[in-house]
Symmetry: C2
Subunit: 296 residues, 2 copies
């Protein structure tokens, strides 16, 4: 493989994407009928596990001093191969489309004015007719009914609280729940007005109490926020542990519920007037619409 | 070491802190005069490097199939020890204080009202008399003068743009620059009023142009924001690449410059009135002050 052309892309410091042109030399991966095809290989350093730790730090450990200063020293540790594996995912043969899917894409910030929302974003959302039947299934207890942590059944001001699918619920370090409002027709932050304040206050207060009772995490250790743009257009609110660096908490995507409430108290039409900033991937069709409208 | 008591703390999925009581069995680390003392060991999987990659993916690679489905397969790769090292930092002997320093601390969210700022936060900042002489040294060209990327010398509305020390400037993927305002006496976001709009607009516009010229990164790929609380109390603004998940970009710490400008245009006294939310570590003395004031 050494003589082949490789392109390296760091997906993270400890995750590497390798695109190999004319990949044919690793027999474990598969036969190629003599024909050399492209491959995508993702290498990922695995997390430490409690089981392998004793093998890393036993007295035969190959621990080489790098430098020492008083009580501090750094070393290179070279564990036996069995105790230090790399997770390897191979797509072979890979097309241009696979390569693109795995590549980290360029991101662009959009400053969406109120006018942009009316003329670009809202028509785009309508045109996509994203299905949210799965959300209605949850609200109607046709799905995930046994997952519900808390429910306020009021059709106007109520909500359901359920664990997010990203959370395995085994430890509270990465606690992640979602509040889904009972009321239908609210697509996102943009639709909120002073009229929705009592619903938002219910979610803030009752959500914190329910999580404190169930998981023993006080409200002061919860980050409670909207995404804008959201990933689906039925209003919902994220609850994550403050010490957990959850995906989607960046300033260009997350809006704290407490700030949203204060904004609506100051101006009931705040979200119908303001510019909202968010990031879109280079291939997002919404970004294309902003470009076509000359707004990028 | 296996018979000793170990406490494991995951600082991240790929960074592990081990606290060892009565550590005495790894001879490479140091002699202990027969006395067993505590040690802190930090194990960290290292990033992939371009140099070792050929050794990971050559035809002799120990690549074991985990499962295969059509063109997708996952494998366990066990490289030779020399090509898969673990960075190991040892503190030995370690005191309780060392152990605490390395442990990830609980975080708490503070909802700081305008009143809290006046009665708790501002007196705290004054009492600490944090030195910002190093910032003045930069502004007066006594330090880092050769690092300056752009300067607007106006003493009221000007600023300096310099690379952040966290950025090695070798690739723009993790681009990180700081704009430091020339004007003295502005401690943070809390001090901003409508009077500062022209300075903020200079930083937004000229900062983007300077970065585009020097690094060929357009303004639409920059995240431009304040930290609140900041790490030092001379007003400064962060510029990072949008696709870079830079530390300190979370909604509970970062405030987009474009939003700050819009807020001040709507209400010149916005930041003297609003509640601002931020996270503090359990041992932060400011958190202690909020507790003493009955605000936590």
């Amino acid at each position: 493989m050494l003589e082949q052309t490789c392109f390296l892309f760091w997906l993270g410091l400890k995750t590497l994407l390798v695109v190999v042109n004319r990949f044919f030399l690793i027999p474990q991966v598969g036969q190629n009928n003599g024909e050399a095809r492209d491959a995508v290989i993702i290498l990922e350093k695995t997390p430490f596990s409690e089981e392998t730790l004793p093998h890393l730090l036993n007295k035969d450990a190959d621990l080489r001093l790098q430098f020492r200063n008083d009580i501090y020293s750094t070393h290179h540790l070279h564990p036996l191969p069995a105790f230090n594996e790399i997770k390897t995912t191979v797509v072979y043969p890979a097309t241009e489309k696979h390569i693109k899917k795995y590549l980290k894409q360029e991101m662009y910030l959009i400053n969406e004015t109120a006018e942009d929302y009316k003329t670009i974003t809202s028509p785009y959302i309508e045109s996509q007719s994203f299905s949210i039947q799965w959300v209605y299934n949850i609200l109607e207890k046709k799905a995930e009914a046994d997952h519900i942590i808390y429910e306020n059944p009021d059709p106007q001001d109520g909500f359901l609280l359920i664990p997010d699918l990203k959370w395995n619920q085994k430890q509270v370090d990465d606690l992640y729940l979602i509040a889904i409002c009972q009321r239908r027709g609210l697509k996102s932050l943009r639709d909120l007005t002073g009229e929705h304040l009592s619903m938002l206050q219910n979610i803030l207060q009752e959500g914190q109490v329910a999580i404190s009772k169930r998981y023993n995490i006080p409200g002061s250790q919860l980050r409670i926020y909207f995404h804008y743009q959201p990933s689906y257009y039925h209003l919902h609110i994220h609850f994550t542990a403050v010490s957990y660096d959850a995906p989607g908490t960046m300033v260009e995507r997350a809006h704290l519920l407490s700030s949203v409430i204060e904004n609506l108290q100051t101006d009931p039409e705040y979200y119908q007037k303001r510019t909202l900033t968010y990031a879109l991937k280079a291939d997002d069709p919404l970004l294309q619409r902003f470009k076509e409208a000359g707004r990028m």
